[in-house]
Structures are given as C-alpha cells and as structure tokens.
Symmetry: C2
Subunit: 315 residues, 2 copies
C-alpha cells in the first residue's frame, strides 16, 4: 500500500496540535479539507486513525504511529523549503567566477573571502581567463560571472557589462625602491631598472608595452616574465624591478607596505574593469548576490582611492 505523504503531514499536524481545527489552521488549510483528506486516508487503510466519538479528536495507536512518520515528512519538507529559501535569497548555491589572473588574485579573491563570511553556504568556483575565454564561458553556461577589463563596445549583445573601475595602470615597485625617493620620476629614470612582464598574451602585457612606448622608453630589459601575481610580487619585493599593475591591485596591497607605485603618469588603457554576466535569462540568486557584493566593494574601493589621491602624489 502506497500512501500519500501529504496525508501523513496532515495527520501529524492534527495530532500535534490537538485537534483537527487547529491542525488545519496550522497548515493554512480549511478545516473541511483536512477532515475529508484524513477520512480518505482512513478509508484507504481501512482502519480508524482516531478514536470515535471524542470531540477534541484523539488518535488511535495506529494514528499515533503514522503521525510519527508524518512528522518526519514535515521535517524533511521544511528542510527542503529552507534549502530553497537559502538558494533563492542567494545565501546558498554555486557561483562560477572567472577573471583575469591579476585582478582575481589581487582584488577579487579577498572580496570573495569577505563575501563568504556572510554567505558561507555559497560555493565559489574560481577560474582564470582573458576576455575571450570569459565571454565564451558566459555564453555556454560554464561561467556565471566574469571580472574583466573590457571596452564597453566590445561587450556581446547576449551579455551585460557593469563597469566598476576605470582601467588605470601604474608602474609598481617595492617599497624602498630607489625611485620612490624621487619627487618626480622621469622616463629616463626608469630605463635603468629591469622589468617584470606579465604573460605575453595578457592585456596587461599590451598595456605595459604601450605605456612604456608612450613615455618614450624605447628599450627596456625584461628580467622576469609570466607567473601569477604572487610570483610577480615576490620578485618585485626581492629586487629593484619594475612592472605595470592595475592601480586597484597596488592600492589593495597598501596595508602590507611591500609594494608601491611610482609618481609617473602613464597612459590609461581605454577599458573599464567591470562585471560581465549573461543577460536575458534568470540570474541565479547567489550570482546576483555576489555580483552586487563585489560591485559594492568596488564602489567603496573607488571612494577610498579618491580620498587617498587627494593626499598623495600618485597620478
């Protein structure tokens, strides 16, 4: 005999609330509905669930035993509802975030850590890639969110782009680097020092080349290339090398007092760092929540940068 789990729920509610009327009320149903459904259950199993002729309806042994199972059903149902609620509010789920390596390591990973303090049940799968990879990932559904520097006109129609910071690069070096003692750094000064280059296929590498040619530094020697942000920072702090990094990344590292930026304005790439998401379809709530969290953090970051710039020489 297969019986309807909803009937067991009804039974449990009625037994636990000490009456049909109150049980029905607790379930948000009308009293006749519950009465009839339980009558049907009773007819199905061919045995009385309630002692006949008692006005505050009282269960038989069989009724109590089945109500026990009904409680289990109710518990599971509530747990399921809770899971769904967490998911729908974005407090649970999976977000697959992709981004350019330097931003991910230097800025986003820290924000994700903060985010997971508030939403520990959101799993974040992080991956690295450049614009094309990320756009493809978002297109075929293997990625939920991308953090990528992009020219707004290069955004495909099927995606939406939310700019969060202007693409501002600086020349970075270790704290205590000889050039940091100069009030003003000239293009000629930097020619002496070796350079750390980002991976050759990265946009940052193109930025570096452009920045250096812009300021007239025709030839420069590359002492280290490739590697993730951690490697770059290690080499940077262990030598007098220079490199090009996004302003935000250097800014985020201020507290460590290991890396700083030279007082030398370089050309800005005409891109914005932004958040890229699929448009049109429904957005998974956890993705939406992480997106707005990151956006808010960047907004705060932008304000801190502005406040900082009013007291600093950096340009």
């Amino acid at each position: 005999m297969k019986l309807d789990p909803r009937h067991l729920e009804l039974l449990a509610a009625v037994v636990d609330h000490g009456g049909l009327t109150e049980g029905a009320a607790a379930l948000g149903k009308s009293q006749p509905s519950v009465s009839r459904s339980l009558g049907q259950l009773e007819a199905r199993i061919g045995a009385p669930l309630f002692q006949p002729g008692r006005r505050p309806l009282q269960a038989t042994d069989l009724g109590l035993a089945l109500a026990e199972q009904g409680r289990a059903v109710l518990k599971a149902d509530r747990a399921a509802s809770q899971i769904v609620a967490l998911y729908r509010s974005g407090h649970a789920g999976l977000v697959r975030v992709g981004g350019t390596p330097v931003f991910m390591d230097g800025v986003i990973a820290g924000m994700i850590a903060e985010f997971q303090q508030a939403c520990p049940d959101v799993r974040v799968d992080q991956s690295y890639g450049y614009a094309d990879d990320l756009i493809e990932g978002l297109g075929n559904g293997t990625l939920d969110l991308a953090v990528v520097p992009l020219r707004p006109e290069k955004v495909p129609a099927s995606l939406q782009f939310q700019p969060i910071l202007p693409g501002l690069n600086v020349i970075a070096c270790r704290v205590g680097h000889p050039l940091t003692r100069r009030k003003l750094v000239t293009p000629g000064d930097i020619a002496e020092f070796p350079w750390i280059a980002p991976p050759a296929n990265s946009p940052l590498y193109a930025d570096l080349r452009r920045a250096l040619t812009d300021i007239g530094a025709e030839d420069f020697k590359i002492s280290f290339s490739g590697g993730s942000l951690a490697s770059v920072i290690s080499v940077l702090t262990g030598s007098d090398s220079l490199t090009v990094l996004p302003y935000s990344v250097v800014f985020m590292m201020r507290p460590q007092k290991t890396v700083t930026a030279l007082s030398l304005r370089i050309g800005h790439p005409d891109r914005n760092l932004g958040l890229l998401m699929a448009a049109g379809g429904p957005v998974p709530p956890a993705t939406a929540r992480l997106r707005s969290f990151v956006a808010a953090r960047f907004e705060a970051l932008a304000r801190r940068i502005v406040a900082h710039q009013t007291n600093q020489l950096w340009r």
Copy 2:
C-alpha cells in the same frame, strides 16, 4: 515556499536511479508524468534541478540537496506503509480482551503469552468481567473480544459467538488429597471436606451450588470464598479443601502436578465456553488474528483432553 513532498520523492527516485526513465519505473509511474511533475517543481522554485543538456539527467547541487530530503520523505512513507501492513495483517495493534476471571487466568493468559511470541507488536489489554459486562463492553466498543461461558441462545443479535469448549466442570483438589486415593468417590465422601467458593456473583458459584445439590450434598461448609484463581489454587494446594473449576483449567494445570480432579461426575452447566465478538462491522485484524489463534489453541486443547480421557478415570 511550501513544496509538495511527493515532488521530493520523485526527485530522490530520479537522482538515485540515475535517470528519469528508470526513476519513473522504480516508482511505478510513467516517464512523462515524472518529467512534467519535476518540471513543475523546477518552475515553482525557479531554479534548475538538473544540469541542462545532459542526457542521463544529472542533478545540480540544489537538486542533490533536495533529493536528500526526498529520501527522508520516501523513508518515512515506506515506514508508514510498513506500519499499516503490520496492522492490516494483524501483526500490530491493540486487542482488548475481556473474560471471566478463572478462564482468563487459568487458560487465556497463557495463550496470549504464546500469541505474543509470534506477534510481539500486538498489545493486549486484558480485563475481567462476567457475561453481562462483557456483552456491554463489546456493544459500546470498549472491548474487542470476550472469552465467556454462555448459552448460545443468550447471544445478542449484534454479536457473534464461537463456541470452543463444552462447559464442563469438575471437583478439584490438591494432588495427594485423601479422596484421590479412592477409586470411586461418593457424594457422601465429599461432605467431610471444606469448600472454596468462587465469588458469589460468578457463574461458577452457581455451578458449584447446583453441582452439589445435584449430587445430594445438601450442606457443605465454605472455608474460603472470593479471590482470584491464584488465591484459590494457593488455598487448594495448601489444604484438603475442594472446589469446582472448569475442566479445562484443571487440565491446563496438569504439568504443575499441584491440582487434580476427583473421579466424581457432576452436572454439566448447559453453556459453552466461547469467543464473543462484535458482528457486522469490520473486525480489527489483530483481533481477528488473536481470535483465530485462541480458537486454534482450544481446538488442540480439546483433542488433548479427548486423548487424555481415553486413558483416565475422570468423568
């Protein structure tokens, strides 16, 4: 959000059977039914339960989490079905048995003990009473089964009576009683000994009076009266008293070798020991099972009595 526990069951089955088709088969439903129901669940919660475009349907994290709860629902449902199955087969439930004290203590209680070896989940509530009480109890639903000596014509129309033994009484005494050495006991012999009388309102007491007057024992002295069978047996075995007991009760006590019957025929009451049950309505399965068990044991008892009588002097 309240979601249907049946949907969770479907989800669990599909996840656990590795596919929609097999899951549907395992539930005894058609594949389109399950497909549509799960689609509905998905629409309700507004989130994908399955990874899109995978042919052996594969659940998302959310789907797996909900399937977990579905398993709990399935488990409770199966447990409930099991409870009902036990009840319906008479292997679980409650039987309220009433009967005359001497029969209950001397014969029925032992049979109930045997019955509960086979059906440990059947609870038996035993009570004592005489014919009128028992009939009333059966009538108003406070009793399921009565074991009572009754004249068949006195059975109310709303009840059914199943005779199981002729109402046969004997004069009982302790093993080793002086009268047991006599080959033949005469009415005169028994006049010397004191009598133990059952409670004055019991049918057995009437039997005793009638038996004694039948055999011409006009005056007899009563040394002990009232008390349950245990008291009677204690007094009987501790003295040379005599009493009247149903044959079956004395017969059941043979193994203890404490009580026996005199070789003196006394009048038989025109009643049958039988099982009394409500007629018409549906019989609780546990009651039916206990009834048939007791009836079978009495049948066996009757055969043993017949076999014994061919080798004994008792009449």
